[in-house]
């Protein structure tokens, strides 16, 4: 039995980089591409989603630059339509859905459970290849076919457009397979590979969040798969399933599409919430407040979130009965989210807060989640939605949740776990500067969009009246700030990979299970089956010298 679990180590002065770790266990490209190690697969995913983030960001900047002036600015109208389609599809299917679960979930879930790997390592690797294949097909289809439907593929436009959307639909279908495989793997891992001592209510909250996410992935994604197949078949063969001219029902498409795509929002945001639960007690140096409530509210969001999809259909001809039912259920999501927010704030209260980059992202996360959530509750009110439907208000709302909250969670995770994943620290001052720029940039980008939407500017329009110009300029300026922040992060993290200070086992003085293995962890994670004798977020018995390690980096 090794002792890593009970000794949450203090960063020893002049920590040495471990000689053997998962990073240098095989250095050939082949050893990376054929690996079954969950940590290496996590890095493969990290590279892929960062490329996706870059691409999606570039297209976002093209959209913002185009909207800088009321008339045509840099691209033509049709190109603009293609740009927002590319931006939406890349960001959602290639970046946000796999971002936190497939990268940080893959890396830390087995370690947090005391397991050596996920339940089905081969399928785990397969899921990455499936993701790459699906993404390639989707991108190829988008670029050669020039799909201009937006990421929602609403029928009957998507089934009658002259652009070739079939490869795009099949690409989305294939990416869905990868998502199912990841979720399935995690669920089985959590059920069968918990080490002695890791009972259900001793699992780290990140694991609970990923568990809830995986349930959604497994249950919702097949419905999207069928929908994409139906749209592809309809576009290719003229089936008329969703075409009113042939007796089909376009609203049925919206039901099927949002049965996946609304829960998909929780596939993106729940893992981010899990990250926040982990990081918040490490930076506040306090036990998590309301562990069971946070864990159960994840499952609550996963369940209730499934039956809120109809709030996307308020103005589509859905019946008044369904609209009322879906509005009421949508409000319940707010209740569960509020439970989490209050517990996080309760955790911060009277904590010995270390003002680090992860903490800055937590602040950003809380602000964006509350602001985005509140506007979400407003949008779920049928009568208000009639006014805001398809305006920039909706765009700003879902960017606050999906970009604001999810990116904050992603960046918090990246900074908090960077020392564990690569064994080196990042420069804290640069981290804080970039975090400040990004939080400021997000607000500057999307708060004007709330105002634009409320004033009536519709989404996805190429041109707009003169009176919207000032706010659009502000939004574009904010987006540039945001891009600048990301560039800074990319630079200092890339430098830190090689030249960063050696982190040691536990630079944050965190009590999370994952900090008890070396940084970077060895291939097998643990020398023997670990036994966990305490919960994952317990700081009451922190040794005195550890309690002083506020500013870890």
């Amino acid at each position: 039995m090794t002792a890593p679990i009970t000794t949450a180590g203090v960063p020893p002065a002049g920590a040495v980089f471990p000689k053997k770790s998962y990073l240098n266990d095989g250095t050939t490209i082949r050893s990376w591409l054929l690996t079954h190690d969950h940590k290496r697969i996590a890095l493969l995913y990290l590279v892929a989603v960062l490329i996706a983030l870059f691409l999606g960001g570039v297209f976002a900047m093209v959209i913002r630059l185009e909207l800088l002036t009321p008339g045509p600015t840099i691209v033509e109208a049709l190109t603009y339509n293609r740009m927002f389609t590319l931006h939406g599809l890349i960001m959602i299917f290639m970046f946000m859905i796999p971002a936190i679960p497939a990268v940080f979930g893959n890396f830390f879930l087995p370690i947090m459970l005391g397991a050596k790997d996920v339940a089905f390592p081969k399928w785990n690797l397969t899921s990455w290849y499936v993701y790459i294949a699906g993404s390639t097909l989707m991108l190829w289809g988008l670029i050669t076919g020039g799909a201009d439907t937006g990421w929602t593929f609403y029928t009957p436009y998507s089934t009658t457009t002259t652009t070739n959307i079939t490869p795009v639909m099949l690409g989305v279908f294939i990416i869905g397979f990868s998502s199912i495989l990841t979720g399935l793997n995690f669920i089985v891992t959590i059920h069968t590979l918990r080490a002695p001592g890791v009972t259900w209510f001793r699992m780290p909250l990140f694991v609970w969040a990923v568990y809830a996410t995986s349930i959604i992935q497994v249950l919702a994604t097949p419905v999207l798969g069928l929908t994409t197949l139906l749209v592809a078949a309809e576009h290719t063969f003229g089936f008329g399933f969703f075409d009113p001219a042939r007796g089909g029902d376009p609203i049925l498409f919206q039901h099927l599409f949002w049965f996946y795509s609304h829960p998909a929002v929780y596939i993106m945001v729940l893992p981010a919430m899990g990250v926040i639960s982990e990081v918040i007690c490490a930076v506040a140096r306090k036990n998590i407040f309301g562990y069971k409530m946070i864990a159960m509210s994840s499952l609550g969001i996963a369940f209730v979130g499934f039956f809120a999809w109809g709030h996307h259909l308020f103005t589509s001809g859905q019946s008044a009965f369904d609209a009322g039912a879906f509005a009421a259920i949508s409000m319940l999501v707010g209740v569960f989210t509020a439970i989490k927010v209050f517990n996080w704030v309760g955790t911060l209260y009277k904590g010995a807060i270390a003002f680090t980059a992860p903490f800055a992202y937590i602040c950003g996360f809380l602000f964006f989640l509350v602001f985005g959530g509140m506007t979400g509750v407003a949008l779920a009110t049928v009568s208000l939605d009639v006014h805001w439907q398809d305006t920039y208000f909706v765009v700003a709302h879902f960017h606050f949740i999906m970009v604001g909250a999810v990116i904050m969670g992603f960046l918090a995770a990246l900074h908090y776990w960077f020392p564990k994943m690569f064994g080196r620290k990042y420069p804290e001052n640069w981290g804080l500067l970039a975090a400040g720029l990004i939080v400021l940039g997000f607000n500057a980008t999307f708060i004007p969009q709330f105002l634009l939407g409320n004033a009536g500017m519709p989404r996805r329009y190429y041109e707009y009246p003169e009176r919207f110009a000032a706010l659009n300029v502000a939004s574009t300026a904010g987006a540039s700030l945001l891009a600048f922040g990301f560039i800074i992060i990319a630079i200092y993290l890339a430098i830190s990979l090689k030249y960063g200070e050696v982190a040691g086992r536990n630079p944050w003085g965190s009590r999370g299970y994952e900090w008890d293995v070396p940084s970077p962890p060895p291939t097998e994670n643990f020398d023997a089956v670990p036994v966990f004798t305490r919960g994952p977020h317990e700081y009451q018995d922190v040794p005195e010298e550890l309690a002083k390690v506020g500013h870890a980096i």
């Binding site: 009957p156 009113p244 499934f306 859905q318 019946s319």
Partner: protein, 151 residues
């Protein structure tokens, strides 16, 4: 002989469904198939036909799942997984059917485009799918459709 090893004994104790029970289950399933067919020939209303067919099919599915797929003796978690997937299927159907049944008639596709309407006759700005709605629409389906109309 296989059953003499301790492993086999353990495996046997875990799955008690022997061949005779499998065959019996198959006979019952075949019987139920003919019962479905028999019911479909009875002179009852279409709604009753549907109800009878769905009930018998559900019984058959339960038999296959419990006996052939060993859920009767299987791990509880597998039962939860399967039941959950059906619960989500039913909830998907419930909400969509609730919409379809209570929808404002002009926004559904009940009326097919059998006679093509001349495009020039249509009010301008109307999408093609709407062209044939007014001619065939007869009788509002439900009370809530009226409420939807007022919005």
């Amino acid at each position: 002989m296989a059953t003499t090893t301790p492993h086999a004994a353990a495996a046997h104790a875990k799955h008690e469904t022997g061949p005779s029970r499998l065959v019996l289950n198959w006979l019952v399933l075949c019987g139920l198939t003919f019962a479905t067919f028999g019911f479909s020939q009875l002179p009852i209303s279409p709604g009753m036909h549907l109800a009878a067919a769905l009930t018998i099919s559900t019984v058959k599915v339960v038999l296959v799942v419990l006996i052939f797929m060993h859920l009767w003796h299987g791990e509880g978690i597998n039962r939860i997984v399967f039941v959950t997937s059906f619960v989500f299927l039913l909830l998907l159907m419930f909400f969509v059917m609730a919409d379809v049944v209570t929808r404002f008639p002009l926004s559904n596709s009940r009326i097919p485009p059998m006679p093509q309407v001349d495009q020039k006759m249509m009010p301008s700005g109307m999408p093609p799918g709407m062209s044939n709605v007014p001619q065939g629409h007869s009788g509002g389906p439900g009370p809530s459709s009226g409420e939807a109309g007022k919005q």
